[in-house]
Every structure is written in structure tokens, then in C-alpha cells.
Amino acid sequence: MSTETATCTVCGQALDAQGSCPRCQSASPTAAAPAAASDAHPDQVGHVWTIRDWRPLLTLGLVIALGFSFTRLVVNSYDEQQDKLAKQYYAAGTRAMESQQPEQAVEAFEGALVYSHDNFDYQLKLTDALLASGAAGEAVAQLHSFLDQRPTDAQVKLKLARLEARRHHVDEALRYYLEAIEGDWPEHTDPFPQRINVRFESAEYLIEQGRHVQAQGALQALTAVLPVSWPEQEKLGDLFLRNGEAAKALKVYQVVLDQYPENQAALLGAAKASLASSGYSGARRYLLAMTPPTDEARSLLAQLDRLEALDPFAPNAGQAARVQRTLAAFQIASRRMAACGATIEAASPKVQERWRALQRWAGQLAPVMNERKLRGRDDLIESIMRFAFQAEMAAEKDCGPASNASVDDEALLLLARERMGAVQ
């Protein structure tokens, strides 16, 4: 647009070539009189607002101040009412959750959120209720929307991790566990114990999923951060044990026992760890230190006795005892194989082939199975024990755990796990 199309600052009319306003009839728009505006303010001479014209404006300011105060009053009362209603619905939701009525809880928490939509606790409770009512998809959507609002919130991440774990999304779950550990916890709580708990939960989840290497790392990290005086050390030892790291588990239990020598759980854990790492004497010592011994401790002691009675390689076993124990092991393994027969018939061809090989091996060993032939034949003893170990391990793999069989099988299996490397 050309420069001549400029408009009058007074009335908005286009200026003419001389730069004057045709409506205001003057070359200087700001000093012009409003000829056409018949209803203009009488004081509005030249459209310049002086302090005299500000009186209504000052009145307007006063109205704004009054309006603010009135609105403040109304909104305060409204907020109180909303808050009260929100609390009522929240309490109803909590009651419904306690009485195992998740659908009612969902409705109540939704009601609470209508009156207090940015209340994070209510939102989390709603997610719990949704999960409890089986609406996992909705709960995930809800949690994701929280994440948009609070991208580093540890509580949301933890809930997401649990949810994904339930939905068997292992990698997602692990990612959220990790983010929960590193995330922000509520200001009024101490984040350290919360993070420790999440570490435990994630390590446990890793063990359950059979991700032993990752679990090893997670447990190692826990060892580094968990204070030695904390009772959670026992739990750490248990997890090490469950992850197949008996030596590390034993170390952890020993740390506990150094401080609390009569800690029953630690003694039992240490016994189990010793047993798993073939420290029978150590295991026996821990079990005997338990006063009074629990049922589990008694059962372990019996197993230990049987295990020692079955082990032909025990340092204190003489020549005759070694032979007897080898013969006994062969019989236990043969019984176990026979018991598995029906299951194996329905198994895959590969499994059946393995079992046929074991049966052929048993058949080859059968002719030498008497005390006379075995005496002085350490090579045969080793061969028979290798067969017994492999038979027990195959049986555990193909027809179920040894605990379903007998104490002897369980003892032999323990022995197998310990000795397989040496025998092979």
C-alpha cells in the first residue's frame, strides 16, 4: 500500500494526499475535531484524552479492583466446595478398593478427579483401580498421559514397569524400572529407600524372567548401594542364591551374621548358600547354629546327611564306602529313569533319543554293578557316577523337579550339580 493510504489515528478514515483527514477536516489528525461523531464525548476535543477524561477510567480501575475481590471470594468458596467433594469421592474410592470393588472405585476416583483434576495422587489411585478392574489398556493410557505431564516421575515409571511386566513386555518393563530408579520421587519422601526397593523389584523380575546376567549386574549394583546394617541384606542374599550365585550369597549372609550372629533367616540362607557351593560342613554348622531349628532347617540337615551318605568322592569315604555309595547312586538314578518312562514316551523325538542313549548306557553299566567288580576301579566308579548325575539332570529337565521324586534324588541332583564339572 502506498504511503498515502495511511489512516487517521483519530477516526480510522483514510488520509488524503495532503495527509489530512477528510472526516476530521484538518491536516493534523491528532489535533482534529470529530465532526461526524455526533455522540462523541464532549470532553473529547481533538481525541486527546486528558486526566479529566480519566475519571471514568479510574472508575473502571475501581470496578476491576472490586471485581477482583468479589471473584476471589466466590472462587475461594467454590474451591473449598470442590475440594470437599473431591475428598468425599476419594474416600469412597479408597473404601471401594479396600472392599475389592474396583469398578466402584474407578467411578469414585473419576468423580474425585472431576473436582480436583490435577491431583496426582487421585490420578494414581484411579490407575490402580483401573488395573484392579482389569482395564490394563486404559491404565496404560492414563499413565502415559501422566508421563506427558511429569516425564521424570518415578512413581509413574514404577507403575508402568509393573504394568508392562504384567503384560509380559519384558524390555519395556525393565526400561521403566531403570527410569524409576533414576526418576524423581515425591519431595516429602526419602528417595533412597524407594530406589532400593525398586532395585530389588527389578532384580527379582530379572531372575524370574531368566535374565541371569542382567540380574547379576542389578544385584551387584544393589550390593554396592545397600547399607550393611539394613535388614534388606538377607533379601539380597536370597536373590543372589536364586540367581545361582551361591558364593556371593554366602558373602552377603556372612555380612549379616557378623552383625547379628543369631539371625535365623541369615543362618538358613547361609546354610543354603554353603550347600549350593558344596560347603557341606559349613552348611551343617549354620544349620546347627539355628536355635530352635525350623522345619526347613531340619529338612536341609536330613538332606545333608543323605548327601554325605551318597557322595562317593567325599574325602573321608573309604574304598568300601565309595563302592557302596556308587551302587546306591546307580539304583536311585535307574529308579528315577524308570519313573520318568511314561512322560518321556510323549516327549519330542530329540528327548526320546537322549533317553534311549541313557538307557543304552545303563545297560552297558549293569554287568559291572557289583562290589567285587568295582573294588579298585576308580575309572568305573567315575563312569557310573557320571551316568547317575546325567540321568538325574535329564530327569529334572524332562520330567520335572527332583523335589517331586525323593530326598535321595534331590541329594543326588545337588551332588550332580557340584560334581559334574569335576567328573566331566
Partner: protein, 598 residues
């Protein structure tokens, strides 16, 4: 102002004795106006006023929202699922009260607040009665609170406009300013109700003002922002919806979005036709029955709400839940359909309340439905349902309210996520095109015509061909005279031409017109330059300027130069009144009244 007394003058002179003090007093004097008091121009005053209107409109909208929620709790109870007797009876009984009050005492609260505000701007010189504003506040709060399927934004817009009109009248603003203050208030009301200032500004420009007007834009923006600040002061800065994060991972998802656009367009056409037909039919009924219409609408809505209470009221809480996978797709589809019928009924019956919120509700449900079906059919697309719901909102907004710019910015402002812009533009364009294809006149224009008003519309204006200077100008018959050319030479040139008027190029883009008799006047010295004969300059024009502008500049001038924008001294053509009128006649458009433009 009284002149200064002698003693005061002496005191002032003493005070100004040093240069520093003199400088200080000089600047103070400049600050004081001709009346000797602090003064500002009306333009600045208008901007200050816009802020004040924005703040007050923000307060009003806060109170309006509180009133709606309080009414809702009083009338329907605090539960999201009110009891069946309440759901059935409350909308009908309150509807009866509203109907009687609206028909007997406050007829102007019925219908669209946007149309009324536009009418105030273009017909009533910015006048909106105070009683209308108060009644709109109370009756809208009652109707929305009692569960009629309407929203608070449209009334908030009218309340804001009415407030601005009331303030303008009390401040005795000029007629021009009083008109302009109405959209300023409207923007403030809508911005506070929507918690979205950009959307409000664009909507007011697209739908209330109906044209892009630079003069009022600054004030509209200021009022919208100040109202949102006031509203957030009390209600917090929380957005209307908690929108999930969105990324367009796969371009194939756009197919599903296009489907949302198609559905949105179809639903828009259906809604416009149903609402306008129903409204037209109901308005033809006897006067006594008009008071009963809101009650009947309330009864029908209450009946459906026994099973689907979500269709009652503005429905923002349900829209939010739909964005978070809280309903199966079948329910979303049913809710969209029922809301369409319920809103058409509520609005057509003359119940006060707006269409914005129901439109967003329908859009969210339709979009969410498509999103959920897509998730089931193509699970590899990991798009949240909320994204579809959001895009659906934009589609319905574009299709029903026919404000394409606003619809896009509304979604962006509500979501705060610019990654969604591509699906939104695609979906809104499809919906808008379908709506325009099957329904020529926009809903708000139809409503205005049903009310007997013919108001300007941006959409219709866009369809009219704009005539430009290049359509009417002709090449200059004679070359322009030059300002520094001797008069004698110019006379020689003019003697060989039959033209009565000659353009004079004065250099640096300045032009003038010289009459033949002036050039040949006896008193003019032959050796003097042509410039000495020039008394006044004339405006120059460009080829792309509209003929309306050209006509305004022409006034009683015989011709004006059309020059090159890149070289202001290069003459491209000449234009006169005759050519302009001829061009208007040729285009079949009404000739502008000369009296109007002069």
C-alpha cells in the same frame, strides 16, 4: 486551562534556572498535553481500555464457569452418573423455566451469541443491552448446569462483548470505537472460556468481524491475553484437556486421519442441516409453544441420558476421558450420534448456550472411535487414541463452525503439540471441503438469516471476486510532464495533445495532476519549472490495489497515476472514475455509492 499566575511563573523560572533542571522540565512539559495535564491519544486509550475489558471479561467468565458448575451440582448432584429421576426431570423442568423467561422477558438470549455479537457490531452500533448480558449469564448457567447439551463458550463470547459494550457506552466512546469495542470484548470472553487466546482472536476475526482488520487487531489480542491471564489467576493454567504426546511415526496413519476428516465432514453437514431445519420448524410454531420447546428438548435429552449421561452439559470431562481410551469404540460412536441429536435439539429449541463444547465433544468421540478401530485393525500403529480425538475435534470445528484457521490453531493451542499439525490440517481441510460442498451457507450465517439478519461473512467475501486497479486502468495516452521541465516545453508538448489533464512526475514517487488551463495560464512564467504550478500532490496507486481503494482516493480528482511498486516514478497506467464504474458494471457488482466514499 487557567494561565499561570505571575508568582507561579517566577517560581517556575527559578526552578528551571540550571540546564539539567531545564531539560527535566522540558521533558515533563512534553509529557503534559496541550491542556497542561497528562494526555494520551485515543488510539493508546483504546488499547488501555482493551486490557481493562479483558480483565473484567476474565472475571465474568470465571464467575460464569463457577455458576455453571454450582448449578450442575445443585440440580443434578455431584456424581458423574446422576440418578435416573434427576436426569429425566431436571433438564425438562429447568427448560420450562428457561423457556418462559427467554420467550417472555429476554428474547435476545436465544440463539447464537456469535450472531448477536456480530449483529451488535454491524447493525446496532456496538449496542448490547445490559439486561441481555445478565440474562445470558444466568439462563446459560441454568441450561448448561441442568444438562442441556450446550457449552459455555458462545455465551461467554456474548457476555464479554456485552460487557465491553456497556463499558464503551459509559465511557461515551465514539460510534466507531463503540462498534470496535464489541469484538474486543468478544475475544476476551471467548479466550477466557477456552483458555486459548490465539484461538479466540482468530475466531473473532473469522466469525465476528468477518474480515481481516488491522485497526482492531492489537486491541483484540490485548484483551484476549489479559482475559486469559485473569482467568488463569483464579482457575489455574491447566489446559482444557490432558492431551497425550503424539508423533507421526508412519505416513500411512494419515489414511486413518483422512477418514476422520471424511466422517467429520459428513457429521458436520448432518448437524448443520438438522439444526437449521429443526430450528426453522420450531420457530414457526405458535408463540405459546416456544416457551415449552426447551422443556421438551430437555425431556428428550434426559431420556437418552438415563443410559448415556455423558451427553449432558458441555461434556468436557467425558471428552477428556475419551482421549484416554476410557470408552470402547461402539460407545464412542453412540455418544457422538446422541450428542449430535441432543445438541441440535437444545440449540434449535432456543435454549441459551453455545455450540463449541458439543462440537468438540462430537469430534473427540468420532476421532476416538476411528482411533480405537485403527488400533484393533492395525496394532503396529502406536498412535494414542487421544491424538485421533484431538484431530476429530478440529475436523468438526472446521466443518460445523467453518472457521478453518481457528480450527487448526485451536487444536495446536489445546494440545501444545505442533507435531500434530499435519494430520490436523489434512483432516480439517477434508472436513471443511465436504461441509462446503454439501452445505453452501455456513451455519452461523444461516442462523443469522433465520433471525432476519444479513451479516458479512468472511467465507462469502472470499468467494466474491475482488476487482483490482489493473482491471480498470488504461495506458497513459500522453507521457507525464516532469516537475523540473520548463513550462514552455510542457506547453509545447500539451499543445500537440488533446488531453485536458496531465500527470506530473515530481520525482521520488511524488505525483500531481495539472489541468490544461493551469498550464496555459497567463501568469505562469514560461521559463519556470512545471513544479511551480503544482498546488497539491495526488496519491499514487498500484496495479494490485482494490478498486474500492482507488475510488476512495480519486474523490473529485480527474485521474490518478498507477505506478510500479519497484520504481515509484515509472508510470504503468492511469485510472479515472469512469473506468472504475465501467469495470464494476462489467463485473455485475453494485457500484459503490459515491456519497459513501467521499
Amino acid at each position: 486551562m487557567k494561565p499561570l499566575s505571575e508568582s507561579s511563573r517566577e517560581r517556575l523560572m527559578r526552578l528551571m534556572a540550571t540546564p539539567v533542571r531545564r531539560k527535566y522540565f522540558e521533558s515533563l512539559r512534553r509529557m503534559l498535553g496541550p491542556a497542561g495535564l497528562i494526555s494520551i491519544g485515543e488510539e493508546q486509550f483504546f488499547l488501555v481500555l482493551a486490557i481493562a475489558i479483558g480483565i473484567l471479561a476474565g472475571f465474568c467468565v470465571v464467575l460464569f464457569r463457577v455458576a455453571i458448575h454450582t448449578m450442575r451440582i445443585w440440580l443434578l448432584g455431584s456424581s458423574l452418573h446422576p440418578s435416573a429421576p434427576r436426569v429425566l426431570l431436571v433438564p425438562a423442568l429447568v427448560g420450562l423455566l428457561i423457556g418462559v423467561l427467554a420467550v417472555r422477558f429476554f428474547p435476545r438470549v436465544r440463539g447464537s451469541g456469535v450472531v448477536h455479537t456480530k449483529g451488535a457490531l454491524y447493525i446496532y452500533d456496538g449496542h448490547i443491552a445490559d439486561s441481555t448480558v445478565a440474562a445470558k449469564f444466568v439462563l446459560s448457567a441454568l441450561s448448561i448446569g441442568s444438562g442441556q447439551s450446550l457449552g459455555p463458550e458462545d455465551p461467554a463470547l456474548q457476555i464479554g462483548a456485552g460487557l465491553a459494550s456497556a463499558i464503551g457506552r459509559r465511557l461515551k466512546l465514539s460510534r466507531e470505537r463503540l462498534r470496535l469495542v464489541v469484538p474486543v470484548g468478544a475475544a476476551a470472553g471467548l479466550a477466557a472460556a477456552f483458555n486459548a487466546p490465539i484461538t479466540a482472536v482468530l475466531f473473532v476475526i473469522e466469525e465476528v468481524i468477518g474480515r481481516w482488520s488491522g485497526g482492531v487487531l492489537g486491541a483484540v489480542v490485548l484483551s484476549a491475553i489479559s482475559s486469559v491471564v485473569a482467568e488463569r489467576w483464579f482457575m489455574g493454567s491447566e489446559p482444557l484437556f490432558r492431551v497425550p504426546k503424539y508423533h507421526l511415526d508412519n505416513a500411512a496413519e494419515l489414511v486413518a486421519y483422512a477418514l476422520v476428516g471424511v466422517l467429520g465432514g459428513a457429521a458436520s453437514v448432518l448437524f448443520i442441516k438438522l439444526t437449521t431445519k429443526l430450528r426453522s420448524g420450531l420457530r414457526q410454531q405458535p408463540q405459546w409453544s416456544q416457551a415449552l420447546q426447551p422443556a421438551l428438548a430437555g425431556l428428550v435429552i434426559g431420556f437418552f441420558a438415563i443410559w448415556y449421561p455423558q451427553i449432558m452439559g458441555a461434556g468436557y470431562e467425558w471428552t477428556d476421558l475419551a482421549m484416554h481410551n476410557r470408552f470402547p469404540w461402539e460407545v464412542l460412536g453412540i455418544l457422538a450420534g446422541l450428542k449430535l441429536v441432543a445438541t441440535a435439539l437444545s440449540f434449535a429449541s432456543g435454549t441459551p448456550g453455545g455450540l463449541f463444547a458439543p462440537v468438540l465433544f462430537m469430534g473427540a468421540m468420532l476421532g476416538g472411535m476411528v482411533g480405537m478401530i485403527e488400533q484393533q485393525l492395525v496394532p503396529s500403529f502406536s498412535v494414542p487414541v487421544g491424538a485421533y480425538a484431538l484431530v476429530g475435534m478440529g475436523a468438526l470445528f472446521a466443518g460445523i463452525l467453518r472457521a478453518p484457521m481457528t480450527s487448526v490453531f485451536m487444536v495446536l493451542e489445546v494440545s501444545g503439540n505442533y507435531a500434530i499439525v499435519l494430520p490436523v490440517v489434512l483432516c480439517n481441510s477434508i472436513s471443511y471441503a465436504i461441509s462446503r460442498g454439501f452445505q453452501k451457507v455456513p451455519l452461523l450465517d444461516l442462523l443469522a438469516r433465520q433471525d432476519g439478519l444479513d451479516l458479512p461473512s468472511l467465507e462469502e467475501e472470499q468467494e466474491q471476486p475482488e476487482l483490482c486497479v489493473e482491471d480498470a486502468m488504461h495506458a497513459a495516452v500522453a507521457r507525464p510532464l516532469l516537475g523540473n521541465e520548463p513550462i514552455a516545453a510542457a506547453r509545447d508538448f500539451a499543445a500537440g495533445s488533446s488531453e485536458e489533464n496531465f500527470l506530473v512526475s515530481l520525482g521520488e514517487g511524488r505525483w500531481s495532476v495539472l489541468r490544461r488551463e493551469t498550464l496555459f495560464a497567463d501568469e505562469a512564467e514560461a521559463a519556470a519549472p512545471v513544479r511551480s504550478l503544482v498546488r497539491a500532490r495526488v496519491p499514487r496507486l498500484y496495479q494490485d490495489q482494490s478498486l474500492d481503494v482507488a475510488l476512495r482516493f480519486l474523490k473529485d480528482r480527474p485521474m490518478l497515476p498507477v505506478v510500479d511498486r519497484g520504481d515509484l516514478d515509472r508510470l504503468i497506467g492511469v485510472i479515472g472514475v469512469e473506468e472504475i464504474l465501467r469495470t464494476y458494471r462489467r463485473a455485475g457488482l453494485a457500484e459503490p455509492e459515491m456519497a459513501e466514499v467521499s
